[in-house]
Amino acid sequence: CGLALLLFLRFGSTKAPPRLGAPLIFKSFVVRSVVDPIYVSTMAQEHAHSSAVERLLNCEVPLRAQYIRVLFCEITRISNHSLASTTHAMDVGASTPFLWAFEEREKLLEFYERVPGARMHASFIRPGGVAQDLPLGLCRDIDSSTQQFASRIDELEEMSTGNRIWKQRLVDIGTVTAQQAKDWGFSGVMLRGPGVCWDSRRAAPYDVHDQSDLDVPVGTRGDRYDRYCIRIEEMRQSVRIIVQCPNQMPSGMIKADDRKLCPPSRSRMKLSMESCAHHFELYTEGFSVPAPSTYTAVEAPKGEFGVFLVSNGSNRPYRCKIRAPGFAHSQGLDSMSKHHMPADVVTIIGTQDIVFGEVDR
């Protein structure tokens, strides 16, 4: 509470009530991105925030930046699904896939670290593009990592997908019908489980997803086993995109050319007067965003992560509401666990892929 008050006082008042976490730190439109409530798939949220700001600004993101964003979003997807499926497996009892998947995740977190410098809360995707270009050798390393990744997914599947005990625990548990999923506001894998074929990357494509070759796995029964299989298959599809992206990526700028939005590089800032002024402006006051509001959503690994941004023309947002997928999913827990045993409740929470950072914000 003390910290919240301090931040509130420091960043000035807005008409929105002060809240901890992401909206509070997003109080001014500075070029830094936000601290992410979903600490598992951080770049997806940065993507949503940045897309919302860009849409309000009507700012064009260069093509190379779009490809980099898609690449890292798919890496995020693999990272998230490997955590989600295997912690779910650990709840069911198989503790080994958890450790195998985390070994894979280590490699992916290393890629995260190489680009912006932080393993988890990478503020990499920013309004206007991305923060920095890919370092030398990264695409080669990503390529060699993905070549062995499909076998790792095979190993994970070997332990679980055909296993009788696994199927006994997962099939017909936590079933959701398509109508229920739509009523409760589920999104992502929870929605595709019962067979509703909605993937924001296909239905409302953003960045360069319309040029990527992607199959969207959809379930039939809507039980936990279907959702588990969908996540595994999505990991494989993400590997497909990751393989395509570096090949299709053009060279070019990684931030929008508008220096009123994206800060210049530090070396330019030390040489040129205008760059220095832009740097100062951007890092103290931030930039102003025109008046109306927007709701922008991306297909985060957990579901549809949306940002509803209302601006009043100044450099501070009037309102920033985060639509977290886990919030809607956690509300469905009661209806999903009816007529099941207590031992299933834990595992249903696991299959909903809830991270309480996003539920509580």
Partner: protein, 362 residues
Amino acid sequence: MIIDSVEVETINSFSKLELLKEVYGLISILPILTLLLGITIEVLVIVWLEREISASIQQRIGPEYAGPLGLLQAIADGTKLLLKEDILPSRGDISLFSIGPSIAVISVLLSFLVIPLGYHFVLADLSIGVFLWIAISSIAPIGLLMAGYSSNNKYSFSGGLRAAAQSISYEIPLTFFVLAISLLSNSSSTVDIVEAQSKYGFFGWNIWRQPIGFLVFLISSLAECERLPFDLLEAEEELVAGYQTEYSGIKYGLFYLVSYLNLLVSSLFVTVLYLGGWNLSIPYISFFDFFQMNKAVGILEMTMGIFITLTKAYLFLFISITIRWTLPRMRMDQLLNLGWKFLLPISLGNLLLTTSSQLVSL
């Protein structure tokens, strides 16, 4: 009064030992102490082995800081548990709380009496050896029930009830398969069962005569030991640790010990009943005919016997540890389903087949 000659001899021999009475009393404890020491070391080894094997399966390094190769890790854990505060639930039944784990440990330790590690290398060569094991291992659920009830915690109570239910359900197929083995060997004595498997070397093992029995015995003993895939009681259990929830310190250590002792007993019994016990099992090689000196041969034979029994037991241990870290957990109702509706009919069918084959062969 008619006294048999055997009894006269016995009485005479006792009177001869009159002088050594006190010494005799002490000496008879020595084998038991040796066995206890051996078991304790074995449990430490099993704990270390479990951690190393699970680490290898999970692509990580196991314990490496406590002693060379992490060998002293189990001792470190045990010492830590000894030094912890012994928390007693304020409104629980304290006497039952304290006795519960002890009963479980006692029943498992008593089962070691009848396990043969060599021809005369068994603490108690009873003619009802395996029956004793099954009877005594049925006492363990009482200890678990006590532990669950006295914890004054509804999750513990429910966990204790489930533990008892699980133990009872899987005892029945276990007993039927042991009965089938006894029928094949014409005796319930563990020594006789091993001897009956020694005739044709490797192919005389009971695993070939009762393959289904081996598999079901494996499953049932994993269920008796409450290990994965049957460990709903200690791992998840409505998110707390079942009947062990309220325990701390060395009482918790006793439950931990019970788990591994049970595993050891089960693996030794698998060896004795199905894998041929202490026999070297290479047909037509009689290693000891070359030696004329009885004493040295005797000791060598004993060592070989222990070594072979332990090797076979460790094979089963390796299998059960690998299963633990590979398979997911079964839910309680699925577990009971498996025990009553699947394993029990199989065990009855197997018993029927065995009896009919014995009838035919007679």
